[in-house]
């Protein structure tokens, strides 16, 4: 699942896949503004078939937070 998350983020940000890890910060390391973040959330929802609430998404700080949320919501 982590590979898919990385692929979606890398596609959107044009950042090298290898530079994205669980500790990567979405705002400061990847340069995601709130609008860009929401576009990625939509891609994640489509890819994993899970609903991510907007206010929940705004609380994600790292890629690891996204992974943990998806795990918690039954995506493996």
């Amino acid at each position: 699942m982590m590979d898919k998350i990385k692929e979606i983020i890398a596609q959107y940000t044009e950042i090298d896949l290898n530079k994205i890890s669980e500790d990567t910060q979405l705002k400061t390391d990847l340069g995601l503004n709130s609008l860009a973040m929401m576009n990625i959330v939509v891609e994640l929802e489509d890819a994993f078939g899970v609903e991510i609430d907007e206010s929940t998404a705004m609380e994600f700080v790292t890629v690891g937070d996204v992974l943990a949320y998806l795990n918690k919501n039954g995506v493996h």
Partner: protein, 580 residues
């Protein structure tokens, strides 16, 4: 509507047919002109639900009838929730029998309790999402007697009612018993319609009293400058007067179909679904759209192509040829394909961003308003004047500049039917805010020979230096923002230092760098160094006393209020700085 001329002719016919003096009379306009048409569209999961103007009139009357049956006439009723069709129904029904108090959903529970008390709220209408918040307010504030919620499933708690059930009951009362309590309830132009809280970037929220006369005057002024088109999208919170009074109410009056955005997450999809002709935004949206357009161009390796297209567009427009629609069709597609106009207000505009979007085919109407003026004061109509100006006063509104300095800058004063009669239960603010029938906006500015208004800054943000010189932070912020494309937020402020028991005033700047800028790829020390270099260069173009002497640079976003204005006095902004 076939074209702009048809649209304008049709609108003139509607506007001249009535002269409404209460918000409630809007229902008569709708019944006369718009029945059968779609009024609002909103997304529920993957479905798009359409609400016609017939639904709107029926639901307002039905819900209003039940409010009367529950003896809420004359009550102050808070509205709390995300943008929704029921938000509009609640507002129109409440203002038909009492006073609406729109509440900002972004506020903390503590602030919402305080504002409910300040606005003397007796009942709360909320969305399912804010049910727990509303119940907490009701249980904490004895003055709040009941809660009505829309979108709830299952059994409702005690003294809590389902909006939809009340509307259904109200409808039965009207149809089966001929109940006319709502429509018969008298509303006068001087009656209080809304207590609108200011968003307050530097101080406490103030409750502005907006009477039916004020709101109707603003509706007519807004319609005079309303963009042409049959479809729009609602992006800003409806509790904000700019969105509701300048967009939603005129749209209902003119029969415009409004698509309600269900949050930032659905922004791109909603643009595609609703295909709006125009949108009301704050500058932050323009900045984000601008950043996204360039990011997508970089992603598709089309940055150079876009730059060339912009150059061609500017050159041809200089010659009087406008082919922006063809040159930037692919960009317009991401906004639904029909979007032509952004109406922007609420904060100073970034001229570089606005100019670029304008070159791409999005006309920018930059306006100036203040909650106390319901809120519209002036608008820079597309294609006229400079983007630095907020344009001429709108019809029905008069402005003058008070106590001008040597270069003609003074406080902007406003007069007109749109101006509030005062603040709710706040005698001190009422005493200092009016002078000889003019409202003192607290904004500084000047008017040029064409009557165009230029805002130079907020009076309360003004920095008064030890030498008596006054510095408007917004003026310096604008210069830096235009020169540095990596800036997300900037605040210039008065950094007071105590030296031997004496206060020394220095000008400081706090800069938040866009995380998607090239600069953000560097480490923070290098970023600070580069920003400091740029500020030093800009300092040379400023009068000596206006120069920035200390700086704070961060990649973090500064805290903002619900209308996305930076909270200028927050600790996250006013931190320790590096000397320049």
């Amino acid at each position: 509507m076939r074209n702009r001329r048809d649209c304008s002719k049709y609108r003139k016919e509607i506007i001249s047919a009535f002269r409404i003096t209460t918000v409630k009379q809007l229902l008569s306009v709708v019944e006369r002109f718009h029945l059968g048409k779609v009024a609002f569209r909103e997304s529920k999961g993957t479905r798009v639900i359409e609400h016609t103007f017939d639904d709107l009139v029926r639901d307002v009357k039905a819900f209003g009838t039940m409010l009367c049956r529950m003896n809420m006439q004359g009550s102050h009723i808070g509205i709390l929730g995300e943008n929704a069709y029921f938000w509009v129904v609640a507002y129109l029904a409440v203002t038909g029998i009492g006073v609406a108090v729109p509440l900002d959903k972004e506020l903390t529970l503590e602030d919402l309790c305080a504002l409910s008390e300040q606005g003397n709220v007796e009942h709360l209408i909320c969305s399912a999402k804010f049910m727990d918040t509303a119940l907490h307010i009701r249980d904490t504030k004895p003055s709040v007697q009941s809660v009505i919620a829309w979108g709830c499933a299952g059994e409702m708690p005690e003294k809590t009612f389902a909006f939809e059930e009340l509307a259904a009951s109200g409808n039965r009362l009207i149809n089966e018993q001929g109940d006319t309590a709502f429509m018969d309830y008298p509303v006068q132009p001087e009656d209080l319609a809304v207590i609108q809280f200011t968003s307050g970037t530097t101080g406490a929220n103030k409750g502005v009293e907006l009477r039916h006369r004020n709101i109707c005057a603003n509706t007519y002024s807004s319609m005079e400058v309303f963009p042409s088109g049959n479809q729009s999208i609602s992006l800003l919170p409806m509790n904000h007067s700019f969105e509701f009074n300048c967009h939603i109410l005129p749209a209902v009056y003119l029969g415009v179909n409004v698509g309600i955005n269900a949050g930032l997450k659905r922004l791109t999809r909603d643009f595609q679904t609703y295909k709006p002709d125009f949108a009301f935004v704050v500058p932050l949206f323009l900045n984000e759209f601008y950043a996204s357009i360039w990011m997508n161009a970089r992603k598709g390796r089309k940055e150079a192509k876009l730059k060339t297209a912009l150059f061609v567009s500017r050159f041809l427009r200089f010659l009087g040829i406008d082919i922006r629609d063809r040159l930037f069709a692919h960009i317009k597609e991401t906004f639904g394909g029909q979007l032509n106009v952004f109406v922007c207000g609420g904060a100073p505009i970034n001229e570089r961003v606005a100019k670029c979007l304008d070159d791409m085919g999005f006309d920018i109407m930059h306006g100036y308003g203040i909650t106390e003026c319901s809120p519209l004061v002036a608008v820079n109509l597309k294609g006229r004047g400079t983007l630095q100006s907020v344009g001429n006063a709108v019809p029905g509104v008069t402005i003058r500049i008070d106590k001008t300095n040597s270069v003609g800058i003074g406080e902007v004063m406003v007069k007109g039917d749109n101006v509030t009669s005062g603040y709710y239960h706040d005698e001190e603010s009422n005493r200092v805010s009016f002078e000889d029938g003019w409202f003192k906006t607290g904004d500084f500015g000047y008017v040029n020979r064409k009557g165009e208004l230029f805002i130079s800054g907020r009076k309360k943000n003004l920095i008064i230096l030890d030498n008596g010189k006054n510095v408007s932070p917004e003026e310096i912020e604008g210069k830096i923002e235009s020169a540095c494309d990596y800036i997300r937020d900037i605040v210039v402020y008065d950094a007071v230092k105590k030296v031997k028991n004496k206060k020394i005033h220095n000008i400081a700047a706090a800069v938040s760098v866009r995380p998607d800028s090239e600069l953000s790829m560097l480490d923070i020390e290098e970023i600070q160094k580069r920003v400091a270099e740029d500020i030093r260069k800009i300092n040379h173009s400023l009068a000596f006393y206006k120069r920035i002497v200390s700086l704070y640079v961060t990649l973090e976003e500064f805290p903002k209020n619900a209308t996305h204005k930076v909270l200028r006095n927050s600790a996250e902004v006013r931190r320790g700085t590096i000397a320049l």
